[in-house]
Symmetry: C2
Subunit: 469 residues, 2 copies
């Protein structure tokens, strides 16, 4: 293992290190070692971190004591599966009792040098406190993942995401800085900023774009209205996080077509740093789980034990580099399926071929069928004449759940009432094939529905409103 | 001079250096040396930079050749006064001819690692390209200026300004990082963000606030409407840039009262890095010109030669640390008056006791009197019953210029029509005393006028609309 790839706890990486541009791996040995060798390293790191958290964090000590688990009893990754998972609600409650960073903060509060937080609009938000060395380790990890997407120091990275509480934009920024690329932190979210983003992209000709998939589509829509072809910008790559869209084949294909550039998905959770510990690479099928950065277990949502490769489950994350607020088995409630490595890029990490394709709690059930909003999005994006936006309404008339989808059509469909009718029937048939249940389709002219400037929220479940709790 | 204070070109500072917390100066020797000794150092640096720019930047070479000035001919700071100043229009035209960074870029474009730009909504914006070493030098300089405001590693800095093209927020961020403070880059500008800023300040209890004065007042107004006393947050200091307000005594007093904390002004121009090379210190009267970071000359707007201390003029800036796009005698068109040092803080820099109090091009003339919008703002902020916002309308009826000021009053004034009348007369008399001309005052209930979320634009000159050019 190269010197730069040091495997110490706590981690401190050489900030001057950078691989040669022709080298496909930032840390070759770590990324290509056998799964067995990696798991031995991870187990040893987990033992370090659990001992560290047990000593420094009352939150973990009390939780594990209550479960009868002591760090010294974890002698295998199978043992680790019995460590009780942490939920976001537990973190929130702990911060409420121990403000501002919770009793899972393992360092002196004076060592917290960067503060961010959840953007939740109801209840107390959760604060993320990050130490200075952690911030540097995050930058290093993001540089690794971005390097694997083919991003190099000669690239210009245009960051079109909101710089505030949301972590994705900051992660892309410090990853690009650490990698040595040129970065243009343009931001997003204020009135008029989408048009200015287009102007600046045309003027500055970035080669890499970062944002949310919804916002990339929104930019493309505004550009199209102004008669601008975004393929002329000269982007080579777009990478995304914050939403599952970039792993949805139809959404990915649409973005790749509109921008004439390759799409890479990445992500994990705001509580988990780095925030791109799942990330696609050149030649990979789906996001890889960068296990030596954040140990990801895809688990059964009931037993919290790992499911076999090839199976569906929910990711549970354990940070291997974070000293300030380590996450040890944080439960995501996301939904995915994992496969064993290696990928075509040569990395031996497990992969998520379909990305994160739903949430256990977003999933809804209509007449016995489990429906994922991302499946509806994928189906609609594939329909010719789709106008770019839709809404999913779930209601209950008498005892029967009803699924209604408002779908925008484009101007070609709008040419005649008959064309709209035929298109509506076609959409309803396609949805039924994909979902297994009948959906009522309401056609709308393109531009009727509000566009997401950030993360799209497309599901309205009115059953809760209809039933008093 | 301490080792950390190295005076080399190009500058490279020890990133691990930090003074002891009890030390009032980041670079003691540089900040307290005699003016004569400093000017000798600055002259030598100017000679280095002019030679560097002449060799690397066709923009400067052509401009100086046309003026018959060669770098070797600059043997004194008086000689330097004959170097023709640069205007923003020249920079814009040069970038248009030599995209994207202009022929005043002195480094290989591949060395530009951070891109920002002007936020102008008309015409081609100007791009700022900043090299990696320059970025580090900017952070170091901002840490120096913030240290002089009394900010220390134990502080938490809440940055409530938009992270996009605007440089002030980024400067506050990297300055706080370099200084070793905790930073919470909250941002600004999106719907609903002001209330969330208040919630987060109450939860995280920052000790330092950065933003624009307008936005600090906007936050205070929203807090007041919600019955929240911002003095409970526990802020010790607020520092500002982007607008002249913080140097206006009445605005400063209002902010200090609302937040229960001390106000510090800072600034310069987006084209000039660092962006806080003018900055107040503990014990200073007005912003100091940190001459060893950016050499500031307050000059006659016609001869471009320095005016004597005690006189009014416009600042011209020369960056002493920037290698990527050095600014050499950039004309600000701002208006200020400077005084000789030292200040009570012991620094020997010249000072701007009233800050930047106007712009040569914002100043307008009514019936022969020069009027500065900041003078109107200062007068109104001092009036009891002021409702928090106003607009200045300049019109021309027949041959006579008319000055109309729409002024909001508070709810106490609104109690009766007679009270409004009396208040209006009082405001008109006060404005006449301060301005020397009569202004028509139109009273409005508080909340009528739109609030600035960023920089306030309060002057509407309709004379241009009334006269075809």
């Amino acid at each position: 293992m190269g010197l730069a790839e040091q495997w110490e706890w706590p981690p401190t990486y050489d900030k001057s290190y950078s691989p040669p541009c022709g080298e496909p791996y930032w840390f070759r040995s770590r990324e290509t070692m056998s799964e067995g060798a990696r798991e031995a390293m991870i187990l040893s790191r987990i033992q370090d971190i659990m001992a560290y958290a047990y000593e420094n964090a009352p939150f973990y000590r009390q939780k594990w004591d209550a479960a009868g688990i002591h760090p010294s009893s974890v002698r295998s990754l199978e043992d680790f599966e019995r460590v009780p998972p942490v939920t976001k609600a537990e973190l929130r409650a702990d911060q409420e009792a121990h403000p501002p960073f919770g009793s899972y903060l393992c360092v002196d509060p004076r060592e917290v040098k960067h503060v961010h937080g959840t953007s939740g609009t109801t209840g107390r938000p959760t604060a993320f406190g990050i130490g200075r060395a952690d911030w540097a380790a995050i930058a290093n990890a993001h540089a690794r993942v971005m390097w694997a997407m083919g991003i190099r120091p000669s690239d210009t990275v245009f960051v079109a995401a909101f710089f505030s509480l949301y972590m994705g934009s900051w992660g892309a920024l410090i990853g690009a800085e650490r990698l040595g690329a040129r970065v243009f932190p343009f931001g997003a979210g204020t009135p008029g900023q989408t048009r200015r983003a287009i102007d600046w992209m045309r003027q500055m000709r970035p080669t890499v774009f970062y944002g949310t998939p919804s916002y990339a589509l929104r930019i493309a829509e505004v550009a199209e209205a102004d008669g601008i072809d975004l393929r002329d910008v000269g982007l080579r790559r777009l990478f995304f996080s914050g939403e599952p869209g970039a792993s949805v084949p139809a959404v990915r294909a649409r973005i790749e077509r509109l921008y004439g550039a390759a799409v890479f998905d990445s992500g994990s959770m705001a509580e988990v740093s780095p925030w791109m510990s799942l990330g696609e690479t050149e030649g990979s099928t789906g996001m890889l789980c960068w296990q030596d950065i954040v140990y990801t277990e895809v688990v059964s949502p009931t037993s919290f034990a790992r499911v076999p490769y090839g199976s569906e489950g929910t990711p549970v994350y354990t940070t291997l580099e974070r000293t300030s607020q380590p996450m040890i088995r944080l439960l995501s409630y996301d939904l995915t399926r994992w496969e064993a490595g290696p990928s075509r890029c040569g990395r031996t990490y497990p992969s998520l071929p379909q990305g994160i394709y739903g949430r256990i709690d977003d999933m809804f059930t209509i007449r016995g069928e489990n429906i994922y909003p991302s499946a509806i999005e994928a189906a609609l994006t594939n329909v010719a004449g789709y106008g770019g936006e839709h809404r999913i309404l779930i209601s209950r008339a008498s005892a029967m759940d009803e699924l209604t989808v408002q779908v925008e059509h484009d101007e070609h469909v709008a040419a005649s009432p008959a064309a709209v009718d035929a298109w509506t029937t076609d959409v309803a048939n396609k949805l039924r094939t994909v979902l297994g249940v009948r959906a009522k389709v309401i056609p709308l002219p393109s531009g009727t529905l509000e566009r997401a400037e950030f993360k799209a929220r497309r599901v309205v479940d009115v059953r809760n409103l209809q039933n008093t709790k």
